[in-house]
């Protein structure tokens, strides 16, 4: 069991520090963002399992050769108040300390997840109430999408996930409607609809909580940022399935000027030049992966590479699970 605990600890350190550092910039994520997303989810789950599992396994090591047996022995002896047997097991205070550490860490992670979930949900509910009171449904939108317009000059768009797809809403500002062409608007709506349909907010929730729980661990920030970026890439892919890249790019360019503080007058309609394919003139400024892959389309990963990522993800999950149950 001590060896087991050390293996788990090694895995936890590996998944907490070097792996996210390598992965958050890995080039393949721009080629097949969903593959990178799968890997991140596996890393978070496996990382959490091994981080919590290692101290618990170490703490219970006097009680048996594997975790299920050790747990049942520990519970049985405690309930029977069999102090003689307990004394013979030579439980060191360090074992008790490790066990408490593992339980506290696990509880902390689960509680933070629950708290983040509740907080985000109530913030969304509050925001949804304001949307309902302040916006009007978009008239010429199609029926299966709930698109609302808010009267403001700043050109912006976002989506607000609800419990179901039917209760989710895409919000566009009047400023955006006036700035973008119909085709560009359609690309924006398709992007937001992809977020909602693929339920991206659930994929990011655990990373949000992971970051809240362990903000001092630099890699929790990497994970959170990487997963948010991947959801944007996936939503872009959804939009590009039906719309031209130039519409999406132009929509991004024109809605990117609304980041200033509110209250200031925003949204002066830009003069509209002809679209032409220019090489990115300022490569250093266009360093973000999301834009780069729209400007220079990337070849998706080959079949064997995708299979490799899937196997790796399953393996990542299987290792700590196997170590814990084995």
């Amino acid at each position: 069991m001590t060896v087991l605990a050390l293996l788990l600890a090694a895995l936890a350190v590996l998944l907490a520090v070097p792996v996210p550092k390598l992965l958050h910039n890995a080039h393949f994520r721009t080629r097949s963002p969903w593959a990178a997303m799968l890997l991140w989810q596996a890393i978070a789950l496996a990382g959490g399992l091994s981080m919590v599992g290692a101290p618990i396994v170490l703490g219970l090591s006097p009680f048996g050769d594997n975790l299920p047996a050790a747990v049942s022995t520990a519970i049985r002896l405690t309930l029977q108040e069999d102090y003689v047997a307990l004394a013979e097991l030579e439980v060191h205070p360090w074992h008790i300390f490790a066990l408490c550490l593992g339980l506290l860490l696990g509880g902390h992670l689960l509680l933070t997840l629950a708290r983040t979930y509740v907080r985000v949900l109530s913030a969304r509910r509050r925001h949804r109430q304001l949307v309902d009171l302040l916006s009007t449904p978009l008239q010429n939108g199609n029926e299966d999408t709930d698109t609302h317009v808010i009267e403001h000059d700043a050109p912006l768009a976002y989506c607000l996930p609800g419990r179901t797809n039917a209760s989710s809403v895409t919000v566009l500002s009047r400023g955006l409607l006036e700035t973008l062409s119909e085709a560009e608007l359609a690309a924006v709506v398709a992007h937001e609809q992809t977020h909602l349909k693929q339920r991206h907010h659930l994929l990011t929730m655990a990373f949000e909580a992971w970051y809240r729980a362990l903000p001092w661990l630099p890699t929790t920030r990497y994970g959170r940022e990487a997963v948010l970026e991947l959801t944007e890439m996936l939503a872009d892919e959804g939009a590009l399935a039906q719309h031209a890249p130039k519409d999406l790019l132009r929509a991004i360019a024109l809605s990117g000027e609304s980041s200033g503080p509110l209250g200031a007058k925003a949204a002066v309609t830009q003069p509209r030049g002809e679209w032409g394919v220019h090489p990115p003139a300022e490569p250093t400024l266009l360093s973000g992966a999301r834009l780069r892959r729209l400007l220079v389309p990337q070849q998706p990963l080959g079949r064997s590479a995708v299979a490799g990522v899937v196997v790796l993800s399953v393996g990542l999950l299987a290792v700590p699970t196997g170590l814990l149950l084995g």
């Binding site: 009171l133 302040l134 912006l156 992007h191 970026e229 200033g260 834009l291």
Partner: protein
Amino acid sequence: MASLGELERSVMTLLWESGQQLSANEVCGQLDEELAVTTVLTVLARLEKKGMVERERSTRPHRYAATATREEHTVEMLNEVLGTAPDREAVLARFIGGVSEEEAAALRRILS
């Protein structure tokens, strides 16, 4: 008959436009739809719970007013979108996510 949500919206619109305290009876009279006063009271109570309406209890009947103007609420709402600091919880997904302001500006120069 209009749904509760739609009623809330028309009552709020009325209160925003009037800019003063109204009693449930007055709200009822000024709405386009024919509604029972009890329905209006229900709607006002819901809006009060949401913090959109405040009730003056010193008068009989109670009078209701919007807690803030429509513009103030719009700004509050959009600041949740625009003011998304990097470490805030991701409550909503902004279209421009993952693209910095500088990048968007550079993209605008390329496209124009």
